[in-house]
């Protein structure tokens, strides 16, 4: 064993046993190859479909004059929302001092990085002329929330990537010495990415400073990213978007979709990577409580968002609310509100529902409902434009996503899965050094008690 592997203040055996468990899934095996081939094949099919849109323009989608923001923008909002979980888990909870987040913090960051990275691409899918993307930067108006959004999404992605990568450097150094039998390219990458990490106390000190800066920096950025996304809607006078609480409404909704995404990812990594002794029932219980909390907050904002305009029933608000409550979108709306929020909140009260498997089911419901919710935020308010539009065919009045649109949207999810797969198959998903430190701290504490 290399002498560089000596970590000050930690027993060698602990590192050995931890890295044996955590680094075991970091390998290229048959099932991984099968899975990633499947993903790439699916992606290629979707890219072919995208090439149709690129050739023929946005006319191949259901987007028309009246509803010009459809599934793509709903998907974008959803992706931005889901990426917010990284900030919630590793920053807010970490900064407050909850130690239990350590083993799942990196999973949260992987989810954040994947969704934030693809969020930008989702926007490009909504562009008829994606070659004009540089114009946003060349001719962008500093007064426009679109420019703010592009800025914060990019910044948040970079911050999330750094926050995933920086705390992992010691682990990469551990992997570098222990995974010499892996493909030489991967070992080389470990060599570069470990930044000459030798577990020197000074290096730890600097790294902790850097991570602390990131943790503090990412909180306002994450709040900005989703508040600005909500402003894309709320700065218009359109009934259904014209709301002063859209910022916190979006942020609290983001925590719901992000936390449920995290729970799904936790369940998957725990069973497939056999990490049951690191991601325990206790962690699921904790995250379930968090999910309960953010869902109740979100329910509160929902109540505000609908009760106040529904009480006044101003002409255009009334159209919108009627469409949601009893009209064209009623089924989806109540499915989202009840199946994706009220019933899960009720179920989460019970202890046995906070076990991994029931949580997986609840999370899948909430995650799906979160996507549908974004669709209901984006699409229905456009159905009643203030200005009457004349002489348009009936099919222009009602938005219906086309197969092409849905396939391209599917592609963005495939991309997210590819990113999550690559990040988790080539790098440890549970922090090794931090977990070791955590465990030895606890052991020291229990020694003191005895």
């Amino acid at each position: 064993m290399n002498s560089q592997d000596q970590i000050p203040g930690l027993e060698q055996e602990k590192i050995d046993s931890l890295s044996a468990d955590i680094l075991r899934p970091v390998r290229i095996n048959k099932s991984f190859l099968l899975w990633i081939t499947f993903l790439f094949l699916a992606l290629i099919i979707c890219l072919y479909v995208y090439s149709i849109q690129l050739r023929k323009g946005l006319g191949v989608t259901g987007l028309r004059d009246i509803t010009s923001w459809g599934m793509y923008i709903a998907n974008f909002v959803f992706f931005v929302a889901s990426s917010l979980v990284g900030m919630l888990i590793s920053c807010v909870l970490g900064l407050i001092g909850f130690r239990w987040v350590t083993p799942i913090a990196r999973i949260a960051e992987i989810v954040a990085v994947a969704f934030a990275a693809v969020a930008g691409l989702v926007i490009i899918s909504d562009m008829g002329r994606p070659d004009r993307l540089p114009y946003v930067f060349l001719y962008g108006r500093v007064q426009s929330p679109i420019l703010w959004d592009v800025t914060v999404v990019t910044t948040y992605f970079v911050l999330s990537l750094l926050l995933w990568f920086l705390p992992m450097i010691p682990d990469i150094a551990v992997a570098r010495t222990r995974l010499q039998n892996r493909p030489s390219l991967l070992v080389k990458v470990y060599g570069i990415l470990s930044f000459k990490w030798v577990h020197h106390p000074e290096q730890y000190k600097i790294l902790n400073q850097a991570v602390k800066i990131l943790i503090i920096l990412i909180i306002p950025t994450a709040l900005a990213i989703h508040t600005v996304t909500s402003w894309l809607f709320a700065v218009t006078p359109r009934a259904g978007w014209d709301s002063t609480i859209f910022g916190p409404y979006f942020v609290s909704g983001a925590f719901v979709s992000g936390t449920s995404a995290l729970l799904i990812a936790m369940y998957f990594f725990r069973t497939n990577f056999r990490l049951q002794s690191y991601i325990t029932d206790y962690h699921f219980e904790r995250v379930a409580r968090l999910l309960f909390l953010v869902s109740v907050v979100y329910l509160y904002f929902n109540l505000n968002e609908f009760l106040v305009p529904a009480y006044k029933m101003k002409k255009f608000d009334a159209f919108h609310i009627h469409e949601l409550f009893a009209g064209h979108y009623a089924f989806a709306f109540w499915l989202v509100q009840l199946g994706g929020l009220v019933i899960p909140i009720f179920l989460l009260i019970f202890r046995f529902m906070r076990k991994p498997l029931p949580l997986l089911v609840i999370s899948i419901f909430m995650f799906t409902a979160s996507w549908l919710k974004r669709y209901l935020i984006v699409v229905p308010p456009q159905g009643h434009p203030y200005l009457p539009v004349q002489y348009v065919p009936q099919e222009w009045m009602v938005y219906k996503p086309t197969l092409i649109e849905s396939t391209i949207t599917l592609a963005t999810f495939i991309l997210v899965l590819i990113i999550i797969t690559l990040l988790s198959k080539f790098f440890p998903v549970v922090p090794i050094v931090e977990t070791a430190r955590e465990e030895s701290d606890q052991e020291a504490k229990s020694h003191e008690k005895h």
Binding site: V142, Q143, W148, L162, Q203
Partner: protein, 309 residues
């Protein structure tokens, strides 16, 4: 639900009754004819006027794409509208009924006839009869003229109507006259209708707060109320009676809606500072990464030297 249906039905019946009720034009207005023949250039001008004033409800003639209103406005190319006499069309456009607005103050009679000429262009069977020259009444054979003069005190406009026959000019007395100010979307009547006095004159007071152009000029238009008797004589002129209005450019100063070069300072500063601060810290983090690398490299080289010795 039943209630809604029955009330809808009732509404339909009432609307149907309204449609069924003939829109009768007074007999003396029915036979009214255009004072000028409908030429191609007139029809072209008619298309312009039709697009501005009529199309939003009646749609493009011949296409049947009129608005779904109750009663339906109808397509001007259809028999339902074409079976009207010229005078009837003129009257209906001038007076309006129900949802159909009156255009007598918005459009000059010349303009209404121009629209009639455009509508008639969709009727291949139509043959126009032009109004014979006005020879009747007290001023037969005379050319009727209107003139406008601004009072020196600028608080009123004097209108003078005269009949010119050869060398003799006589005042047109006892005739109803109107004065309009031309605004962006039509004609604004100035005061009430007046009757010319025995010198052929009528006086229209001008309010002191009428907005004019940059020089304070206002375009006014005078005409007879009874065009049947005097013909479509009108007098348009520019008068210096309005307030001088300098149009304010909304994109002159820094504003949220302006181009990025003219964005408000506070937003440029907030945005730039925010980006600079956050990315400054990101740079700082990257520099710390560099420090980590330098320390590692140093320890590596020290270790290597030790191994050598």
């Amino acid at each position: 639900m039943k209630k809604i249906l029955s009330s809808l039905l009732l509404f339909q019946i009432l609307a149907g009754l309204l449609i069924a009720q003939e829109w009768t034009v007074p007999a003396d207005k029915k036979g009214r004819l255009s004072p000028f023949p409908f030429s191609d250039s007139i029809r072209k001008a008619g298309l312009q006027l039709y697009s501005l004033n009529c199309m939003s409800c009646h749609g493009t003639p011949g296409k049947g794409n009129f608005q779904a209103l109750v009663p339906p406005p109808g397509d001007p190319a259809t028999d339902k509208i074409q079976h009207n006499a010229d005078g009837e069309l003129f009257y209906k456009v001038s007076e309006g009924r129900g949802q159909m607005p009156s255009f007598k103050n918005t459009l000059a009679s010349k303009d209404i006839w121009t629209i009639v000429s455009y509508i008639r262009s969709f009727n291949p069977a139509y043959v126009q009869s032009v109004m014979p020259e006005i020879t009747s009444g007290a001023y037969s054979g005379a050319v009727i003229a209107l003139s406008l003069l601004l009072n020196p005190s600028r608080d009123s406009v004097m209108l003078k109507a005269s009949a010119i026959r050869g060398n003799s000019v006589v005042p047109v007395t006892g005739a109803g006259v109107k004065l309009f100010v031309r605004r962006t979307f039509g004609l604004l009547p100035l005061d009430e209708e007046k009757t010319t006095n025995d010198q052929g004159m009528a006086f229209f007071p001008v309010p002191s707060d009428l907005p004019g152009d940059t020089a304070g000029k206002i375009q006014v238009s005078a005409r007879f109320t009874d065009e049947d008797q005097f013909g479509p004589v009108s007098k348009d002129t520019l008068l210096q009676v309005g307030l001088k209005i300098e149009p304010v450019s909304l994109v002159k100063d820094r504003a949220m809606w302006n181009v990025v070069r003219k964005a408000p300072w506070w937003i440029i500063l907030t945005y730039s500072l925010g980006v600079l601060v956050v990315w400054g810290f990101i740079l700082l983090v990257l520099l710390k990464l560099r420090d980590i690398y330098i320390i590692g490299e140093h320890i590596d080289s020290v270790g290597a030297k030790k191994n050598e010795s």
